[in-house]
């Protein structure tokens, strides 16, 4: 009979059948080391759950709660109401309801209650969606995408599917010449509106993302926008709103934008 730690544990916890237990005890009679191990396992019968239950755990940080709600809102719209202020909430809800009824998003007439930047932003898409995407990007650390590596082939299947659904001509930009390695493309949803997120990682530094979603608005040139401390470059081309974003300077993002369009 070969004795290992599992058998010692099973012996102490009375989980061995009678013949095995008898054989175990016979071996133990003349094995001082085994006796010592049995004593140790017996001594380890301790109130683990009670000890950890008595441990004072710090409260969940408020910002973590908020971030989780933001994350849920990007992936699934119903909890988005928890992220924004009351006025933003009803405005967003009204915008989205109207947008879905008329079949077009944004460019709705709420100019009088929109701030200047929101109004300007609406020329590039739904400002609530743009803000949500930027806030989502703000949660991406280098470690989040460091271990992610999707092949171009697999990513292209996703992009092709997106293109076929809307007759778009989206391609995955290659930023490798600028030092940004493609890591992954995925489809997210904001109130069931599809958003393609393509993530890149430089040799050093934070992740870069290009997010694309459909819009029913005319082409627009480049616009810089900042939210949650994250810079973004927005433009609209052929029914698609592009959002290039990351923890980079405006100039760095503009340079990448130019490498795409020139």
């Amino acid at each position: 009979m070969k004795i290992d730690e599992i058998q010692i544990l099973n012996y102490v916890e009375h989980k061995l059948d009678a013949p095995t237990r008898a054989a175990f005890e016979k071996i133990m009679e003349n094995d001082a080391e085994l006796q010592k191990q049995v004593r140790a396992i017996k001594a380890s019968q301790l109130p683990y759950d009670a000890a950890f239950a008595a441990e004072k755990i710090p409260d969940v940080p408020e910002r973590l709660q908020e971030q989780l709600e933001q994350l849920s809102s990007v992936s699934f719209g119903t909890s988005v109401k928890q992220v924004f202020s009351r006025s933003q909430r009803w405005l967003m809800f009204a915008c989205l309801c109207l947008a879905f009824i008329t079949g077009s998003l944004v460019t709705l007439g709420f100019n009088s209650i929109k701030s200047g930047s929101e109004y300007e932003l609406s020329a590039y898409g739904n400002h609530v969606l743009i803000d949500a995407m930027i806030q989502y990007q703000a949660l991406y650390s280098r470690a989040t995408v460091e271990t992610v590596r999707q092949s171009f082939e697999n990513a292209n299947i996703l992009i092709e599917d997106f293109n076929q659904r809307g007759k778009y001509k989206l391609v995955i930009p290659d930023f490798s010449g600028d030092g940004y390695e493609f890591r992954r493309a995925q489809e997210l949803a904001f109130y069931e509106q599809a958003i393609i997120q393509m993530v890149y990682l430089p040799t050093n530094g934070k992740p870069l993302a290009l997010c694309v979603t459909k819009v029913a608005i005319p082409n627009q040139g480049m616009k810089h926008y900042q939210s949650a401390g994250i810079n973004s470059i927005l433009w609209v081309k052929q029914g698609l709103s592009y959002m290039l974003m990351g923890d980079y300077t405006k100039e760095e993002l503009e340079s990448l934008y130019k490498s795409l369009v020139i």
Partner: protein, 182 residues
């Protein structure tokens, strides 16, 4: 199915936070770990099988993220720096007649190698079965049992040494027997 994850994720936050704190022993690392777990869970929400336990699924993601983080030298270094931070909250035990015992139990579990410590947390603290723990850690049941046995052996040896040093183990024996004897 995927909506289920989004809708219920916030209900699991306190459990995720507690498990993350115990894994990382640092409030800042735990915060980061919960965030990453949530991002990954939402990205893979279509993989969640309705009818199975959301918490186990989230713990499995959290464990996988933490394992990857540990591979990073930077995180390992940060973890060392933050041990004092962890020590602060781990040493705070609610008033109990078993204060010293509880403190010793937690200290000994925290001193275990990572893989053994995680098994102890899942089996002995969270109350998962060997099979559930194996699923969460993505290892064989035998590996879980082996790690648990080794962990228990180390903890037991530490307690025996302590008893020997103090000249009496009656208090520990009394408390553990009272709670664990069948």
């Amino acid at each position: 199915m995927s909506q289920y994850v989004s809708e219920n994720l916030s209900h699991e936050l306190s459990h995720l936070w507690r498990f993350a704190l115990r894994l990382t022993r640092s409030t800042s690392l735990a915060e980061d770990l919960v965030q990453k777990t949530a991002v990954r869970a939402l990205e893979r929400k279509h993989q969640f099988i309705l009818g199975t336990q959301l918490r186990s699924w989230l713990f499995s993601i959290m464990h996988s993220v933490w394992k990857n983080d540990l591979r990073s030298a930077a995180i390992r270094q940060q973890s060392t720096f933050n041990l004092s931070d962890a020590e602060n909250y781990a040493s705070e035990i609610c008033h109990s007649e078993n204060l010293q015992l509880f403190d010793d139990v937690i200290s000994n579990v925290n001193r275990l190698p990572e893989a053994q410590r995680t098994v102890m947390l899942l089996v002995c603290v969270e109350g998962y079965s060997y099979q559930e723990t194996a699923d969460i850690m993505d290892v064989a049941v035998g590996t879980v049992m082996s790690r648990l046995a080794r962990a228990r052996l180390k903890i037991g040896e530490a307690f025996l040494d302590k008893q020997h040093d103090e000249g009496s183990g009656e208090h520990i024996d009394r408390v553990s027997r009272k709670r664990y004897e069948n």
